[in-house]
């Protein structure tokens, strides 16, 4: 097989995101991760929700399923459970995943299906012109808001943790290398992986701008100190080697997750592969699930007759 190049993962579809949109960095990182991992194009399927981020699959030259608002996780889980051989990546916005789709976010955590899920987190509903998203903090007033935000924000890292995600990370759309590495780790992870990708919305979010993330509006603007820092560089390792480490790590992650403002941590907060994936749980009951998952099963013979035998089931219901 010829080596796949970055260009092979790009489509010619016109990209209509706003100039300077954080989505570009995320798109590039996904394509770079696919290239680095040399995932055959037909094996990869990008599932997305609705909104600017929802258009992502159309720009990536692999199978692309652009689903409904808030429902990307159940769509993607259904495909992965039916065919665990596929490399499924779910992407969506913060409103999509933590607002209308929050129930599925929690539901997915309980199942631990083997997929990575990237939230393009920009604190606003961009495509509907800048309303407050579930990650915009209470009292903040971005450009389009008439009054400061009256709802409090959800904490995506903490929510992922208590919901049962087994890989939890955060990255930043303009640190493409960090993001690409994080996505690669998320894809490789066995189980449900969540990557919270911080990204500016240059059109509607005039607070969390690229400059803000870089620290340029800090008090000492001559010597800007980036708000974002990498937890691994501070010596943190989120990997769980033994269940006994979980509680201690959880407190640390909750501490990290509440850091915001001058210090914003990115990196892999948590990775626990000791928790069985949903697929392994199915295989407990259906022994050859991995050999013949639902999508691989023959259901009829050459003459289109069903090959399932129902005699034994019917015998139990027979009158005799």
């Amino acid at each position: 097989m010829a080596e796949l190049k970055l260009a092979d993962y790009k489509t010619t579809v016109h990209n209509d995101w706003c100039p300077g949109c954080g989505d570009f960095g995320i798109l590039n990182s996904i394509q770079m991760a696919l290239t680095e991992m040399q995932i055959p194009r037909h094996k990869a399927i990008i599932f997305s929700g609705i909104g600017c981020s929802g258009k992502t699959p159309h720009f990536i030259n692999v199978y692309g399923i652009h689903t409904l608002h808030g429902r990307v996780l159940p769509f993607a889980q259904g495909a992965k459970i039916a065919n665990p051989d596929l490399e499924i990546i779910a992407v969506g916005g913060d409103g999509d995943g933590l607002g209308i789709g929050a129930g599925h976010f929690v539901g997915a955590g309980r199942k631990n299906v083997d997929i990575p899920y990237l939230i393009f987190n920009n604190a606003v509903y961009g495509l509907t012109k800048g309303q407050a998203s579930p990650t915009l903090r209470l009292g903040e007033k971005t450009k389009s808001l008439v009054t400061p935000n009256t709802s409090n924000s959800v904490n995506p890292i903490a929510l992922a943790l208590v919901s049962g995600f087994t890989f939890i990370a955060r990255s930043y759309s303009y640190d493409v290398k960090h993001l690409k590495n994080t996505i690669t780790r998320a894809i490789t992870h066995k189980g449900l992986a969540f990557v919270d990708v911080l990204q500016p919305c240059p059109t509607y979010d005039d607070i969390h701008t690229r400059e803000w993330y870089q620290g340029k509006n800090n008090l000492d603007s001559d010597n800007p100190k980036p708000r974002i820092y990498k937890i691994e560089e501070a010596g943190y390792d989120g990997t769980i080697h033994d269940e006994s480490e979980v509680n201690e790590k959880m407190s640390k992650i909750l501490e990290y997750s509440s850091e915001w403002g001058d210090k914003i941590p990115i990196g892999i907060f948590y990775q626990n592969e000791l928790v069985p994936s949903y697929h392994e749980r199915i295989a407990e009951n259906i022994k050859d699930y991995f050999v013949r998952p639902p999508s691989h099963q023959a259901i009829s013979d050459n003459e289109n007759k069903p090959i399932a035998k129902i005699d034994k089931i019917l015998d139990k219901l027979k009158i005799n």
């Binding site: 399923i65 409904l68 495909a79 129930g103 699930y289 069903p306 090959i307 019917l314």
Partner: protein, 652 residues
């Protein structure tokens, strides 16, 4: 009038508090009778409650196939007071009531689960007859109607059984009381004792301790009633025969589930809801599937966090090429509407098995109705193709379950298979199912040659404009076949397109699949006409579970020389206008029968055929239509009483 004058037919009812074994007792009774060569139809009624509220099970047995219940009862079997209070007045002359003699003085007011409305009704009944407001009063009422009552001292009987078994603990276990009650009734019917023992062995076979005590209790009660009472006045004229050969005793949800297994469904999602969950649970308990090729197949059943996840997860799975279904009821289906449109837009085969119950909102969650017909047809925003198919009985539910997948794959669209509680929770003796139906997957391929990929960048055109509106479909993950799906309007490759010309072509392509479906679907799957050896110009139209009651009522009317034809519409969408028009040609009288308030099928027929409905018979009290009441209503109309809308109110 009576359906009961015939030899070898009985309408039997057992009631009791929910959780007291009414269901298993009724099953034992049904099996016992089936083993004696009788056809069975059994109907369940229960409250939305776990323990304590009144539930009951009506069983009809007959030497001919039966597929509906009656209003009247011949034998009422009880072990609590409430059952007698609620049903004793329905027992026909010559009928029998078995009750707990220790409860004779129970006062109506003291039965906490009899709600205020029922209390008022029963009070009035007793007061009008000048009877006391207790169980004895109710029994006196029955006796004055010509019934025979047998009071069994269950408590003493259980003690004797315990003594016989040297098990003093048994006296504390009132669990065998249900089996005692049915055994006494079987004894009165003159059915061989061995048959009930056999049925008990089948039901409790895996629980040896329960088995022994139930057999002992059954044997004791069987002899007790005959030795302690004079039973020569009990005349049911039941003549036992050979067991039905190659017959099943099966519920609608079991039939639909087995159809799914045979039909190749290998992925099912659900969120718990009455009365749909039974099907998913049955599938899960049969998740390993034996196959003709010697390998084991399997069905993955996923319980999701809600119905939106149920349908979207099912769609995701369907994209991988597996036959996929979800099962739900009205409230869940309401949540599925948006995703249904996504499946329509992206031409994804999907089966939604929709077990209707009484709405709106939570409605009567454990009761009967057929009020989601127009909703099923119109669910989802925008115009998109879907097929709506309704089964008329338990047997049809099995075969339609398979056909629904064929339709979904051939026409690449969502299929809504409409059932309702009267089919799903009822049990019936059915001829063993055949597996002659073929699996038809339409234009499904899982290998695509490199040169078959087309489009702007060598991509697969999943929505290719061709002569046929149905394109080749491949599972995601297929080599040389990369495509996109989106809920947005899209190009042939599946990318977002807002182009006006493309929009017209895509809309036409999707919607024209319905024309193809109407052309290709077999006539018998569209509508069936039962003509009762006549070309009568009077016609009854209906759909779904009312079939059994209507057929039986029409048969009786036919015997009386009043011929009517019955048109059962099975394909509700796209509407088989031609077929139905043909059946309705030259009709002088069209009567619509439905279990909903607004005669939904009636509107549909009028809208599509232009033929006005002359009379409507509707029911929406949460109880299914019985043969008795439909017979009376039809007779009223035929006798020249020109009531335009008759509302049925039978049932307890």
């Amino acid at each position: 009038m009576s359906f009961l004058s015939n030899v070898n037919t009985i309408s039997w009812l057992i009631g009791g508090p929910q959780g007291s074994g009414v269901d298993s007792a009724a099953n034992i009774f049904a099996k016992t009778c089936a083993k004696q060569g009788f056809h069975i139809f059994g109907k369940r009624e229960f409250y939305s409650n776990i323990k304590g509220e009144h539930s009951y099970f009506t069983i009809r047995l007959s030497e001919k196939p039966v597929s509906s219940h009656l209003e009247e009862i011949n034998m009422l079997v009880s072990f609590d007071a409430e059952t007698v209070f609620r049903h004793a007045d329905k027992v026909a002359p010559g009928g029998v009531i078995i009750y707990d003699s220790s409860l004779a003085e129970t006062v109506l007011e003291e039965v906490p689960t009899i709600d205020l409305e029922a209390n008022k009704r029963i009070c009035k009944l007793l007061k009008d007859s000048g009877l006391s407001l207790n169980l004895s009063g109710m029994l006196d009422l029955a006796k004055s109607n010509g019934c025979i009552v047998y009071g069994l001292p269950y408590f003493d009987m259980i003690e004797t059984v315990a003594k016989n078994m040297n098990d003093p603990k048994l006296s504390k276990l009132s669990r065998v009381v249900n089996v005692m009650a049915i055994s006494a009734s079987i004894s009165l019917l003159g059915i061989n004792k061995d048959k009930i023992i056999g049925a008990i062995e089948e039901v409790f076979g895996s629980k040896p301790k329960l088995l022994a005590s139930n057999i002992e209790a059954a044997q004791y009660a069987y002899s007790y009633i005959k030795t302690k009472f004079d039973t020569k006045n009990v005349k049911f004229n039941i003549i036992p025969k050979e067991a039905l050969k190659n017959y099943l005793l099966i519920s609608g949800s079991q039939a639909a589930a087995i159809g799914k297994i045979l039909g190749g469904c290998r992925f099912q999602t659900y969120y718990p809801i009455t009365p749909a969950s039974d099907e998913s649970e049955f599938l899960e308990s049969n998740q390993i599937i034996e196959q003709a090729d010697g390998k084991n197949g399997s069905i993955v059943v996923v319980q999701t966090e809600d119905e939106i996840a149920a349908i979207t997860m099912a769609i995701g799975a369907s994209l991988t090429g597996v036959r996929t279904a979800t099962a739900t009821s009205g409230p869940g289906f309401s949540l599925m509407a948006e995703a249904l449109g996504w499946a329509g837009m992206n031409e994804v085969p999907l089966v939604v098995t929709m077990y209707q119950r009484a709405g709106p909102s939570t409605g009567l969650p454990t009761r009967h109705e057929q009020s989601d017909l127009l909703f099923a047809i119109n669910a989802g925003h925008g115009d998109f193709p879907k097929i709506v198919l309704a089964s008329g009985d338990i047997e049809e539910a099995f075969y339609d379950s398979i056909k629904a997948f064929n339709f979904a794959e051939i026409y690449q669209l969502p299929v809504i298979h409409l059932l309702d509680k009267a089919i799903s929770s009822s049990i019936q003796t059915c001829k063993n199912f055949s597996n002659e139906l073929k699996i038809e997957r339409g234009k499904f391929k899982n290998v695509i040659d490199k040169n078959q990929s087309e489009g702007t960048a060598g991509h697969f055109q999943r929505f290719k404009f061709e002569d046929s509106p149905i394109s080749t479909r491949v599972p995601i993950g297929t080599e040389n076949a990369i495509f996109w799906n989106t809920g947005d309007e899209h190009s042939e490759e599946g990318h977002i397109s807002e182009d006006p010309e493309n929009r017209i072509k895509m809309m036409d392509k999707r919607m024209k699949k319905l024309d193809v479906a109407l052309e290709k679907i077999a006539e018998d799957d569209k509508a069936v006409c039962y003509d009762f050896d006549s070309n009568s110009n009077g016609v009854v139209i209906s759909w779904g579970s009312t079939k059994g009651a209507i057929l039986e009522a029409l048969e009786k009317l036919s015997e009386e020389g009043k011929k009517l034809r019955f048109i059962q519409i099975r394909l509700l969408h796209p509407f088989p206008t031609k077929t139905v028009k043909k059946f309705l040609m030259d009709t002088k009288l069209v009567i619509d029968v439905e279990m909903n308030y607004s005669s939904q099928l009636g509107s549909l027929v009028q809208q599509n055929t232009g033929r006005e409905i002359d009379n409507r018979i509707v029911k929406y009290n949460g109880r299914p239509i019985s043969s008795t009441e439909i017979y009376i209503a039809l007779k009223t109309i035929l006798s020249g009483n020109n009531e335009k809308r008759i509302v049925l109110d039978g049932g307890t």
